[in-house]
């Protein structure tokens, strides 16, 4: 009787959990769906906002943002601040107005340190009205819709994590219940059996296997030899990797994602590591190189965020950059207070070996990825290659020297190819594995 009761309970419980699970997950997805509807609901009043948005993005957005000062002032609600006719003539030719001495024009011109606004003679009055309609869109409403959408998504994402946890927890609970059930069932069965007088057969005593093993001397000898050889093998392997930092991925002071920069946005390695082209070192870019773009990009797009790293996390990392370089986002100016970033060095050849980047990057034309691996896929930078001597030599033996458009060496290359009887000379054949080339 008891048994039957228990079994019912377990299935009932698991059904209950499953039902709970389903309700939770459906409610979450419902939230997700609601978000875009809200965002789409933002409508405009007066002027063609969509056309204005396109024009704004094509012409104005290089210097103006809606809610944040950039090269020029923030433009949200600019139509209410100034007279419309004045705005029209300002947009069409601001410099003429400054020269004519229009007080308002001169004031703005001076406020922005004499930055000249491009004149836009090609924009018609309707175009300008469309742009103004776009900039006159109330901030709060789309902003609220956006944050609501973002919030909904945020909780949705968070909810996703929570549902996962719930699913896992529920599963664990079900399994635990099953185990308990099984235990109870066997217990009751045993009790019933003993009550009915059934006896379990006792196991016979035998020589334990380890005793039998120890008694056989041949086996012991063989095992010892095998064990020693195995230990030697692993010890050798362990010794060989000492001093090799393959896979070393330290925590950097600023979480810089090569995946976002070099992968998704396709920025060339040399853009930031510009000294790799012409110097021994592939330099860590100074922060002014970061600011070439990040003066303008103060936050990541929502789609950049991944499950592991949220938008808030990435935005925080960008503000770390601003803090280090001393950039005031509100004022769009440098404060002059700099705090150099203490990047942690990853690739480090011992002092006894000489390596020159420009020789490999510019002269040989080797892709960075040959040695550094698919960096454009690394969220966290790590050392891809072992950087051992054997690794260097292997590449020097296999790689053909790039001879094209290097007329200076044409003759010597020809002679070397003749000497070795090959068409293409490898680096090793040209002396690339002589000790003194790297160790001196």
């Amino acid at each position: 009787m008891k048994k039957v009761k228990y079994r019912n309970l377990s299935s009932f419980l698991s059904f209950l959990l499953l039902a709970l699970l389903l309700t939770v997950s459906t409610s979450v997805s419902a939230q997700d769906e609601a978000a875009p509807d809200e965002a789409a609901a933002t409508e405009s009043a007066g002027g063609d906002v969509a056309a204005g948005e396109d024009l704004f993005k094509a012409n104005c957005a290089a210097c103006h943002k809606l809610d944040r000062k950039a090269t020029g002032p923030a433009l949200r609600g600019v139509a209410d601040k100034y007279d419309r006719d004045w705005l029209h003539s300002w947009i069409k030719d601001s410099q003429a107005m400054v020269k004519a001495g229009d007080p308002q024009a001169v004031k703005i011109f001076e406020e922005y340190n004499g930055a000249v606004m491009q004149s836009f003679p090609q924009l018609s009055d309707i175009d300008i009205d469309n742009i103004l309609a776009y900039t006159s869109q109330p901030k709060t409403e789309p902003q609220v819709a956006q944050t609501a959408a973002g919030g909904a998504q945020g909780t949705g994402d968070g909810g996703g994590g929570v549902t996962n946890d719930i699913v896992l927890g529920a599963l664990a609970l079900v399994f635990l219940l099953l185990v308990v059930m099984l235990f109870l069932v066997t217990n009751t069965l045993k009790r019933i059996a003993t009550a009915q007088g059934v006896e379990y057969p006792e196991k016979e005593k035998r020589t334990p296997i380890w005793k039998a093993f120890v008694q056989n001397q041949f086996l012991v000898l063989v095992t010892t030899i095998v064990l020693l050889l195995g230990a030697g093998y692993f010890a050798f392997g362990y010794m060989m990797q000492i001093g090799v930092d393959e896979g070393y991925a330290p925590v950097q002071p600023i979480h810089y994602s090569h995946k976002i920069h070099a992968g998704d946005n396709g920025i060339d390695c040399n853009y930031c590591h510009s000294s790799a082209r012409r110097s021994k070192h592939s330099g860590i870019p100074s922060l002014n190189v970061c600011m070439n773009c990040h003066k303008n990009i103060a936050e990541v797009a929502p789609e950049t965020a991944t499950e592991e790293y949220s938008k808030e996390f990435y935005d925080g990392e960008i503000s770390k950059l601003y803090d280090a370089v001393g950039w005031d986002v509100e004022e769009q100016a440098y404060t002059g207070e700099e705090k150099p970033v203490k990047w942690v060095r990853i690739h480090n050849l011992p002092d006894l070996a000489y390596f020159n980047h420009s020789q490999h990057v510019t002269v040989a034309g080797i892709a960075c990825q040959e040695c550094h691996g698919p960096v454009e896929e690394f969220e966290i930078m790590k050392q891809h290659a072992p950087l051992t001597m054997g690794w260097c030599i292997e590449c020097h033996r296999e790689t053909n020297v790039k001879m094209e458009s290097n007329e200076y060496y044409d003759k010597i290359h020809e002679q070397l190819a003749q000497k070795y009887g090959v068409e293409k000379v490898t680096v090793a054949q040209m002396g690339g594995i002589e000790c003194g080339k790297c160790h001196y």
């Binding site: 993005k57 094509a58 290089a62 950039a70 090799v244 070393y248 853009y271 002014n288 002092d351």
Partner: protein
């Protein structure tokens, strides 16, 4: 009891072995003094430096090798001056233009696009908006102000002085002029140089480009602007 003791010992050994491969830490080294340099290395640390930071700016007033003076401040007036006055001192050759194209692809194309139409990958992905085309008639860029902007930056564009040197800037400027000519449907620098049988300098040809383009640009403008 004995068994459980053995198991714990085995687990401990295994865990210590595994913990040696912590990727956040550097590995052990046999003879660290063979690895670590005696002298100061680039980006190294040293007690004698301010902040312990070895990377430093050159002493004030030092003049790097091959330095060419550039007497244009980051002002609108000087930009206008550079636009007309600043001349390309290098020969317009295929080598220079190819070099300029390679550099352009590294440093400029992400925003300005391979064709110079302002539709680089960062523009496509809406990281940067409103990047003008080189053929924009209102800007009417010349080699001089292309060089100037590379040194000082302009509006949302930062300075590239630390990434490209004097010669490389002019090489990039040559390629930019080629792109501008191509956008306007005009012959590039090399072709127009060949056409000019007289001993004209490269700067003259670029200026000629601008003169020629102004008419045709008007027709292109509408397309460019709506992009």
């Amino acid at each position: 009891m004995k068994n459980s003791l053995h198991i714990t010992i085995a687990l401990l050994v295994a865990s210590t072995l595994v913990s040696c491969f912590n990727e956040k830490e550097r590995n052990y080294q046999y003879f660290p003094n063979m690895y670590q340099p005696v002298g100061y290395e680039a980006y190294g640390e040293g007690d004698i430096f301010v902040n312990g930071q070895e990377a430093k700016l050159p002493a004030e007033g030092s003049v790097p090798r091959g330095y060419v003076p550039f007497d244009y401040e980051n002002t609108t007036a000087d930009k206008a001056r550079a636009k007309t006055e600043l001349k390309n001192p290098f020969e317009i050759s295929e080598e220079n233009i190819n070099e300029g194209e390679a550099l352009y692809t590294i440093y400029c194309a992400v925003c300005h696009g391979d064709k110079g139409d302002g539709q680089g990958i960062l523009a496509e992905r809406e990281k940067f908006l409103g990047i003008p085309s080189y053929a924009d008639p209102a800007r009417d860029i010349t080699m001089g102000d292309t060089y100037f902007v590379q040194v000082h930056g302009l509006n949302a564009m930062g300075s590239y002085a630390s990434q490209v040197d004097h010669k490389e800037r002019w090489q990039i400027a040559m390629h930019v002029m080629d792109l501008k000519a191509a956008l306007n449907g005009n012959p590039g620098l090399l072709e127009s140089k060949k056409q000019n049988t007289s001993d004209s300098t490269e700067v003259d040809t670029s200026e000629q480009d601008n003169d020629n383009t102004n008419d045709t640009e008007a027709s292109n403008t509408s397309e460019e602007e709506t992009n």
